[in-house]
């Protein structure tokens, strides 16, 4: 069982002197950051400034050139399974298989991360996919793929959400309900780290912490 840490001085997730070099280009150098329970963090920067790289490094998918990521004060390479138990990462790619139906996709994603699959239809309803649960995902649109993947958020037990462009190909109504979900999640003691090119509508600016990447050399 996960008892979420209260807002204490130890941060939920922190980056220590992260350096990222991609194709011999320095994206960021010695970047340190601390993310606490209850935070909504928006990573900003122009295209190619390393937003995705930062999120992938924080999630543990990529290794930084230098520096470390800590989960509750412990390096994530040392507590990989515990960290991943508490992490939900949503990348550019939705991870939806065309050969499986919407419901099968969601169920697999939920089960893989150890979540309950009983109410998956209800979650599909929340992302407006009711009636599509038995269609093969290959017959659905890109936006619907992303919504299948995002449906996992409604059942996620992970306190740390790292979301790379979650609003891409999502309609206005969907964006609003996702934002509501983020606020709820933060209030429950989780944290959300996201990138987006759209302005946040219902999340007030004072609720959002910003990390701006514009290292140019």
């Amino acid at each position: 069982m996960n008892t979420l840490p209260k807002k204490t001085s130890t941060s939920l997730l922190s980056g220590v002197k992260l350096t990222c070099i991609r194709e011999e280009r320095l994206l960021f150098d010695e970047l340190s950051l601390q993310i606490h329970a209850g935070d909504i963090v928006q990573v900003e920067g122009p295209n190619g400034s390393g937003k995705t790289s930062l999120l992938r490094i924080l999630s543990g998918l990529s290794q930084p050139y230098d520096g470390q990521v800590h989960y509750q004060g412990q390096s994530i390479s040392r507590c990989r399974e515990e960290y991943q138990q508490n992490l939900l990462y949503f990348g550019h790619l939705s991870g939806v298989k065309g050969e499986m139906t919407a419901e099968e996709n969601l169920n697999f994603n939920l089960a893989l991360h150890g979540n309950n699959t009983e109410d998956s239809l209800a979650y599909l309803a929340k992302v407006n996919l009711l009636g599509f649960e038995d269609s093969l995902a290959s017959h659905l649109s890109a936006g619907q793929h992303r919504r299948i993947a995002l449906a996992r958020l409604y059942q996620s037990s992970a306190p740390i959400w790292i979301l790379d462009e979650p609003f891409t190909a999502i309609d206005k109504q969907g964006v609003a309900s996702l934002e509501k979900l983020f606020i709820e999640h933060a209030n429950r003691g989780g944290c959300v780290i996201l990138t987006t090119h759209q302005d946040l509508i219902s999340i007030k600016p004072e609720q959002v912490k910003k990390i701006v990447l514009d290292y140019s050399s």
């Binding site: 998918l61 990348g91 790619l93 499986m100 089960a111 893989l112 699959t117 037990s157 429950r188 989780g190």
Partner: protein, 251 residues
């Protein structure tokens, strides 16, 4: 049938705690995580039957080409049959390896698997096992028929099936390392064969020699034992190499 039972079980055993503010989760047991991935890969393969049939057709066609290229004399053919069947099996496996991680890498589900709270070697092992069931097993089933076309010595049929049974998993395991290394590269196909084929040489040597020995009516358990050793060796080491390689490829 076991697969269906499995899925029912997995929903039963998970605690239903929908009233909690944040629903809690427990990582699946190793066995259930393995079955989950295995079932998924088999489902996908069953809905995408080309992936099963095409390597098999390739196997059949390559073997038919040899008598056409060499001549139909039964004696020559039966002399080279073990080599032909095994080389064709190597190439067919090589051809089918691409589907092991490629589509998962393209649509992002590989990332999600790497980020799941399970040991990577376990998921990798499930995927490789599924791959072998889909491509290795049909190969074994059809090989005796093709052996008839090549006039393989009658004593050798048992050896052929046994070597394929022990050898094709080795091909899948070693091949998985190669695919995992090349899955992020745009033109990885040709590179894959360069990486993987040299590693297949020991299996080829011992398997064909076992079949040859069987044709002489001699015991071939020594060669089988070596292939079995190769199997267990690669079974215990390859999944870790694949896991490390996938981490590099998704980086």
């Amino acid at each position: 049938m076991t697969l269906e039972a499995q899925s029912v079980q997995s929903t039963e055993n998970l605690p239903a705690q929908t009233n909690n503010p944040i629903p809690s989760s427990q990582p699946l047991s190793y066995r259930r995580a393995f079955m989950l991935v295995l079932k998924r890969d088999l489902t996908i393969a069953m809905r995408h039957k080309d992936d099963i049939i095409n390597p098999l057709l390739f196997f059949v066609i390559v073997i038919t080409l040899f008598p056409l290229g060499i001549g139909p004399e039964a004696q020559t053919l039966s002399r080279i049959a073990p080599g032909i069947i095994w080389v064709a099996a190597l190439l067919a496996t090589l051809l089918s390896l691409d589907r092991l991680f490629k589509s998962d890498h393209h649509d992002g589900s590989l990332e999600q698997m790497l980020l799941s709270p399970h040991p990577i070697f376990l998921l990798v092992l499930a995927k490789i096992f599924a791959h072998w069931l889909i491509t290795g097993l049909p190969l074994i089933l059809i090989a005796p028929l093709l052996a008839v076309l090549l006039h393989l010595d009658e004593n050798s049929y048992g050896a052929l099936v046994f070597t394929l049974l022990l050898g094709t998993p080795v091909l899948s395991l070693l091949g998985a390392v190669g695919v995992a290394l090349t899955v992020g590269i745009k033109k990885g196909g040709v590179l894959l064969s360069l990486l993987v084929l040299p590693l297949y040489i020991p299996v080829l040597i011992f398997a064909t020699s076992a079949i040859d020995t069987a044709a002489l009516g001699l015991p071939y358990s020594g060669q089988l034992a070596i292939i079995a050793a190769l199997f267990f060796g690669s079974l215990s080491l390859a999944p870790f190499a694949v896991g490390a390689a996938l981490k590099v490829s998704t980086n």
